[in-house]
């Protein structure tokens, strides 16, 4: 059994037709359920549920405070390389894009790590384009060993790996995996991923499960919103999260709701996703899966991020830069070399201040992954 079996079950589900039949009472019933099921998720994601957005928001806020309190974990991404063999229509690192390519050497990596660590952050998420020739696993491993010296939690958002490869990274101290399916609809996936190793839909879909089989501590999944209609895509993403949480209950499962941002070749998203839609997805997610983590990246602007905060968010990026070496050696927001444009450019201290002003505790450290002090023998 893989999530692919769940996908196949709903692949031809007539979402639009079903949504038309959802009544006001269906939505009220779903909101009142203690343990919502699949049909409730559909009700909460339906166009009619937009009329109940305030009720969804109120319930989502209460559930979030109950399960996570008033605390938000902070992290930042660190880009190792933008070399990529994939031709993904929506991505700035697309092999066809004629952009300056860069890979951090270990000296540069230390400089980046030192600069980020000075902000107080203890959670780092490393990213690369997909090029096993230029950024092989051996390079990633060396990077992890360096980052272990600066951070208490190292997560990866890199190309998909085999079980054995995930096992090797976990043994080095990696405790989190972020991987977006990008688009769950397989037909759309095939159209948007034109060449390169990422064309293998199934290998990507099963990647979170391969990592969880090796006991990865946290797994964050997501759909890149804008590639297909957001209601069906959010349904598949949340069913995926449910599947993983149910099957691998020892792990912390979380979701992201990334919207396509402008990048170098000005890709035009086939589907639009409004701020209102984002609110509906986040609140429906929280009500459907009360214990799940919800991560909010700097793809969204500061006003929206601040307003989304109470509705279910548990983790936020801060001081994000999507350029390789952007913290120390390159222009941080260079449109030509970044994966996508950052919408919220606030630094870590500004995010911290905002959170405190809004009654939330910024959490810089939420795991004890490594012991950097060699005097401590445990």
């Amino acid at each position: 059994m893989s999530f692919y079996d769940v996908y196949l079950k709903y692949k031809d589900f007539p979402f639009e037709e079903y949504f038309l039949k959802i009544s006001k009472n269906d939505i009220i019933d779903s909101l009142n359920k203690h343990e919502p099921e699949e049909e409730d998720l559909l009700s909460l994601l339906s166009p009619q549920a937009e009329n109940f957005l305030e009720t969804l928001a109120s319930k989502a806020k209460d559930l979030t405070q109950q399960h996570f309190g008033k605390a938000i974990v902070l992290y930042t991404p660190l880009y190792l390389s933008n070399y990529c063999e994939n031709e993904c229509a929506y991505c700035g690192f697309n092999i066809r894009n004629n952009i300056p390519r860069k890979q951090l050497d270990f000296y540069e990596l230390r400089k980046e790590a030192e600069t980020i660590a000075k902000t107080g952050l203890k959670h780092i998420l490393i990213l690369t384009g997909e090029s096993k020739k230029i950024t092989p696993l051996s390079y990633i491993k060396q990077c992890i060993e360096i980052l272990n010296q600066y951070f208490s939690s190292v997560s990866i958002e890199i190309y998909t790996l085999s079980r054995q490869e995930y096992k090797e990274l976990i043994s080095l101290g990696v405790d989190g995996l972020t991987i977006y399916q990008e688009v769950y609809n397989q037909e759309s996936y095939n159209k948007l991923h034109l060449s390169g190793p990422k064309t293998d839909y199934r290998f990507r879909l099963d990647a979170p499960e391969r990592a969880l089989m090796e006991n990865m501590r946290t797994v964050n999944i997501g759909a890149l919103l804008g590639l297909k209609d957001f209601r069906s895509e959010s349904f598949f993403m949340l069913m995926h999260a449910y599947y993983l949480q149910h099957k691998y209950s020892q792990a912390e499962i979380s979701i992201s709701v990334p919207r396509i941002r402008p990048q170098v070749d000005e890709f035009i998203p086939p589907s639009s996703v409004s701020d209102k839609n984002i609110v509906q997805i986040i609140t429906a997610a929280r009500i459907f899966l009360p214990r799940i983590g919800i991560t909010l990246s700097t793809r969204e602007n500061k006003e929206l991020r601040d307003n989304l905060l109470p509705l279910g968010v548990t983790k936020m990026s801060a001081g994000s830069i999507t350029t390789v070496g952007g913290h120390t050696i390159c222009e941080p927001y260079d449109k030509k070399t970044s994966q996508f444009e950052i919408a919220d450019k606030r630094g870590v201290s500004q995010i911290k201040e905002t959170l405190l002003n809004k009654g939330y505790q910024p959490v810089f450290k939420d795991w004890v992954g490594h012991v950097k002090d060699e005097k401590i023998k445990i």
Binding site: H67, K70, G120, R291, Y360, F364
Partner: protein, 257 residues
Amino acid sequence: MHDPLIIAEKEISNRLFIGTGKFPNKAIIKDVLNAAETEVVTVALRRVDLDSKEDNVLDFIPETCTLLINTSGARDAKEAIRIARLAKATGCGSWIKLEVIADNKYLLPDNLETLKATEVLADEGFTVLPYMSPDLSIAKKLAKAKAAAIMPLGSPIGTKRGVKTKELIKILIKEIDLPVIVDAGIGYPSEAAYCLEIGCAAVLVNTAIATAKDPVTMAKSFDWAVKAGRNAYFNATKAESDLANPSSPLTGFLKNL
């Protein structure tokens, strides 16, 4: 009345333990602990940031408090043991609220892994207070493994659903010769009072205080409730009984014979 709770030879006057995980800011933790005059405070090691000059949660805990380091995040005995040893090595003391959870959906403890970790840590000299599902057999084994107290859940962590496991907890109080401290699920001061009334040694509260509109006032309310519950435990005229006690005794006629 001098009525201390004694754990590992330490006298504890205040039977309200407070968790620090869910507060809107760290500064308020200090006010909460002072208001409730709490003596035992749980802190998750995963959140302790010794490198931070302004954000180390330990800096907000009065020195008079005993730190009870929580192994939150441990999914098996091995991880819990690692966290406990790390806590001790970094100067956080050797009192451990042993929490081993392999279920992130309901946050229910893994009793078997908890027992394994208790055996190792107690043997190494830690004062171990294991968080557990209220099960008599495991409680007996935890006692044998030299746990310093047991911490059964009232209902799952963060749910504020009250003491749903009260019948099982009563059995533990009766059968286990260790302090019984209800750990999770307490949503209101009245529920904390109830725990003390039935003979629990203490309660540990986090969510209900941390997410209250005014955490400081709520902490004080819990403090009063816990004291009231303890007083009631000593002074109630008659314990609740499952047996009938009719106001017109059926055997009253015997007196006239």
